[in-house]
């Protein structure tokens, strides 16, 4: 028997319809009764319901999509967008961190350095990937590879998908904050084009440590936030269950990110989320990356760095009464 694919809470109406559809398909297979018209009716209803649900997602519902266990991860996109990826490992200081993957690959035949934060699809994989929560070594490996890209004149593409850097004893002992800070600083001055795409979760400093780019993009159901909605809820509402309210208050959905200038473009996902059609999601992503790199590669290094500096220099909203008086 086929499984239901609409598993999130807000997808319940779809799940019910899907179950009916599965039953009808079963009936049509097992008996000679013609249920074609019933099937068509339910399919039409599914399409209509999909439209209703997915065109009105709340920020919290999109967070759930960004964390969907079937969502494509960095390695899925790398596989679909690039060719001949060779993964390089280790920070040359302490160890390999599998929560971040990276290495050279080819994009339409051109060599690029591609990096991504990598989640696991099941328990065994997540033990290895640490649920996509990098340790300091991951950030240091990422910077090592970005410096390699600079040395050999390769553009850099980074995929961001992390709940955040790992809050652990070892991570603190080896200064995860410093690792992130160094990446942020050194990416700001890296002499090759950098494109970042938030493909799922953009969890705070852990995301930013791989996201200081010339162009920052986000998939339609991704989020990029200073703190997780649960973390914010725990602090301000004293209750993690207030995460949906926190998700509203933090205004971290792609439309706001674009309005604030934090992201430069929002990439469409297939209806219902990237996991419902990997190929379409990857194609949309590839088109955006190719377009962006083509533009960036036309710039001189000097202009590239100045524009990148100004891009981040201008972020933030404040008032300056002295400037107004002057």
């Amino acid at each position: 028997m086929e499984d239901v694919t609409y598993t999130l809470e807000f997808e319940k109406p779809l799940r019910e319809l899907e179950k009916q559809l599965i039953t009808l398909n079963q009936v049509s297979k097992e008996s000679k009764v013609d249920v074609t018209s019933e099937i068509e009716a339910i399919e039409a209803k599914i399409d209509k319901t999909k439209m209703e649900i997915y065109s009105n997602l709340t920020p919290w519902q999109r967070v759930q999509l960004s964390r969907h266990p079937k969502r494509p991860y960095s390695l899925d996109y790398i596989d679909m967008i690039f060719t001949d990826f060779e993964e390089l490992h280790g920070d040359r200081r302490f160890r390999e961190d599998a929560a971040i993957v990276g290495g050279p690959a080819f994009l339409n035949g051109e060599s690029v350095m591609v990096l991504g934060q990598q989640k696991g699809r099941n328990t065994r994989e997540n033990l290895k990937r640490n649920f996509g929560c990098p340790h300091p070594e991951g950030y240091r490996k990422a910077m090592r590879l970005m410096e390699m890209a600079e040395k050999f004149g390769m553009p850099v593409v980074t995929f961001v998908d992390t709940p955040g850097a790992y809050p652990g004893i070892g991570a603190e002992e080896r200064h995860v904050a410093e690792a992130i800070a160094v990446n942020i600083r050194d990416m700001s001055a890296l002499k090759v084009p950098i494109v970042t795409i938030v493909i799922g979760e953009g969890g705070s400093g852990g995301a930013l440590g791989m996201a200081v780019a010339d162009e920052v993009m986000i998939l339609e159901n991704g989020y990029y936030s200073v703190i997780s909605p649960e973390g914010c809820a725990a602090i301000l509402w004293k209750d993690r269950a207030a995460a949906p309210q926190a998700a509203d208050a933090l205004k971290f959905s792609p439309e706001y990110l674009a309005k604030f200038g934090v992201v430069d473009r929002v990439i469409d996902e297939p209806m219902g989320g990237a996991h419902r059609d990997y190929a379409v999601a990857a194609q949309n992503l590839k088109t955006a990356i190719v377009d962006s790199l083509a533009k960036l590669q036309k710039k001189s290094t000097e202009k590239l760095l100045e524009d990148r500096y100004q891009r981040f220099r201008n972020l933030g909203e404040y008032a300056d009464s002295a400037a107004m008086e002057a």
Partner: protein
Amino acid sequence: MALFGKPQYSTVTVKKKDIPKDLWTKCPKTGEIIYNRVLKENLMVVPSSGYHFPLKARDRIASMLDEGTFEEMDMGVHSLDPLEFNATSSYPEKLKQNQDKTKETDTVISGMGTMGGMPVSIAVMDFRFMAASLGSAAGEKITRAIERGVEKKCPVIIVSASGGARMQEGILSLMQLAKTSAALAKLSEAGLPYFSILTNPTMAGVMASYASLGDVIIAEPEALIGFAGPRVIKETTQQDLPAGFQTSEFLLEHGLVDLIIPRGEMRDRMINLIKALYGSKKSA
């Protein structure tokens, strides 16, 4: 672990309610009762135990710069409410409460001055203001202080204390990490020294940006310094934290902090460091 030494027992028993609030303070380390005027004259450090209380940003600046040389800048830079943030209370209300409490507009006080006659661009975070959380206004003031270093070819000193990025400004707060760190790349490119002084507590976003990027990183004794909060780490890992975890001393031992300097020695030793790293350039 003998990090904090043995508690010393006070011979006088004083009930909390008997202590006039603004006259005496109890040392959290030893329980000793100290006359507030003594504490203030000693830069809020308990003379006998060496416990460092938070120091107001302006008092900090006065304690470090040559007397009368501080020229405050960017006083007009203040926070807005870009998210129209409303949780249990509104952000503008929260700002107002903190402004009334501290008589400051936000968490960073910055400007120019001299130390031992050498020019410095200085920015100091005041923990009393919303736990010195980093928002757009604070990020802008820090960035301008760094850019002033580049422009005036002088060292930059940032005295940090912070609970992290300011949630109420959401993603824009996070972007201040990038803005400030990128400015530090320029300062470094210009060959000018940046001194990062970490005070109790310096955590999260501030630590994951400028606070960790000093050419020299100095900590005050026994400050809490780290990325993730100890409670979060404990909950996530279900492990007991090592003794002295995330203290200045722990970070010195683990190689992040260059040196620990007690507040009373800070000015003299900073002047020494500035002379060493910058002094020879000054006359050039």
